[in-house]
Symmetry: C4
Subunit: 209 residues, 4 copies
């Protein structure tokens, strides 16, 4: 029997999960490096420190937004993986690509919190969200075509992810568009969309997405 | 059968544990970045280096206090998760919120070790402790209501966590109040409370909490 | 019975996997620290920010190249470990050596992206690739000799890894040689080799390697 | 039945292993941050870069020494945990203390590579090694007393660890003492001891330790 590397490689679902949990955990924790502690030399009283903390307050907003982003996509990937018995080399590589986009989230978050009023920073952040959704969608599409899903679960997987990703990405794109007016509108809208998903759809039309 | 995303998502107890262990491990290791190695240019003799190391000594105190904090809450979350057979999407999100608070510990620790005599820095640290306890408590309350606990374990879970969290948070709040006099009193008191929990309650009245 | 430490130590396959996933996940995420957010003080308009982002564009190339590098060797190690029932102390140490080389990837990547036109930076990067391949090859050779592989799998393991590592290292070495002309040629060639492996060999002669 | 928190808390062997693997993996990867990429502004030719890389060469020595240190103690802890069926709250806390010492290794390594000719830096590093060994020893002693070891394994565990830890700590202490002459002697001796353990004892008298 001929033995080909690509038929055997990258077939461990457990290790793919473990690597993913590691990348997500570090990306989440790296976000905090963006909350710079105020510099000692400018602070001479409790009042000074209070003002300095107020000044970094906007960064907490982007911290929380990105933690929610990473949480949403971690839950999404975990849910997708729960549909499979096994993975193969190609699927593993789609997920490594997904993780490469996950690992960029701390960068695009830092860019946005440093340049919060700049449309380009917001569009970079949105583009990151778009890549996250696309990688998840593409992973699902491949897994169904390659027959990786558990017995009779392909339709459920497609039902769950197709509408979910399309609707959320539509909303994120609309949020990004709002930067025509103001980047704060975009950030506010994206946070609202995320809170809605996080708290389980409360907006009737999204309940079953 | 209708298949809804939120009924399936976030139901892996194993992956929630793995993500949590990753975030805790990284937060614990990030604490050490706060122990800055003295700068080469000011050091010309063994004596200079000795003085420089003595100068960063207070940072070891906050390092150890935060390591204990993270240890206590890691043990707490692990204990809580040991009561469940499974988790659901909502519980997973409560835990992601908990992890967002865990990931902030290196920030509030750095703030406190940089501004150790400032009450605001101490109150930020205490607020972090309060959020950690609240998230753990809220997770327990939700899990009991949602029936996630193993057969017949709800009462034990409530017994264990309710008093434990309330008493410890009461003690932390008292410790924070001591900053009216001096932040060192607060830090000393909080460390004593943590040591007591860590060594298993030796103070009679707390033994069975 | 005499009990010797070295007969018992380092025999957990699970923990070796978990440590490896941690080191890979962290090394992957550290790569992003190389994408420095532009400094606020030089940026006064959307156009300035756009130019600043274009200026860090080359760093995305090295980011992606190194993410692919780490992905390729993570898949390789995972595939190798899937051939074993158990590991022993010596094999564990070969893998710790492999991880020491993995952990250096963020350094050689940062060196290359900072000095992208310097041949020495490129040769350091190539040397890192060489060490990664050698450690993987040496691990395989040892495991076969020590009889760690699952029943009857030694030949398959050798078939898979021997040609694979030799051919890919040959290609990397050729890529490194191209720096005689220009480091960009080297980087371009190495990325093409990686993309070929990643997308599963499309170049006929490499298909079954 | 009365239910007490401390009887239930911290009893998961799996999660203790996962947290440990995380802390070790990050501590190992953090070591690389100590290999600073040379600063662009001083480098104008291949020759300049070559000299700059030669200048950071000593840091590779401390990098490798600390990677070996962490590897040795990771193998040690893994071996110890393989003797247990379960852990309890107190043992978990001893291990959290061990991890707090593990997480300091990147700091003491950075201190030593920055001040490689200073005896105090070397003694700090040695003290870190001493704490690592003590925590491992203390963990073993507690586990035996508390009856955590698998059926009939207590004696083997004691045999393995007691001599091992005592002899290696004796050698480390001797190495540290050599700094009376020169810190390089100490570093060289400690690296030789580590290489001996890593390659499995080759020095006859240590073979069965």
């Amino acid at each position: 029997m001929r033995f080909v590397y690509n038929d055997v490689a990258g077939s461990s679902l457990d290790r793919l999960s473990a690597l993913s949990d590691g990348v997500f955990a570090f990306a989440m924790t790296l976000l905090v490096l963006d909350l710079h502690v105020p510099r000692v030399d400018g602070i001479h009283s409790e009042h000074d420190l209070w003002l300095a903390l107020l000044a970094i307050w906007p960064r907490f907003t982007t911290y929380l937004m990105s933690f929610m982003t990473l949480g949403i996509f971690w839950v999404g990937q975990q849910t997708q993986l729960s549909f499979y018995d096994r993975v193969n080399r190609n699927y593993t590589w789609i997920q490594i690509g997904f993780l490469a986009v996950v690992a960029i989230v701390p960068f695009s978050t830092a860019l946005l919190s440093e340049f919060i009023t700049y449309r380009i920073a917001l569009l970079v952040y949105w583009f990151n969200l778009l890549l996250l959704g696309s990688a998840l969608f593409f992973g699902m599409a491949y897994a169904i075509r390659a027959g990786l899903t558990k017995e009779g679960m392909s339709d459920q997987l497609r039902t769950l992810f197709a509408r979910r990703v399309l609707v959320s990405q539509g909303l994120y794109a609309f949020g990004a568009l709002l930067c025509i007016f103001n980047t704060y509108w975009s950030i506010g809208f994206i946070i609202l969309v995320q809170l809605n998903y996080l708290l389980a759809p409360k907006i009737p039309v999204l309940r079953d997405v």
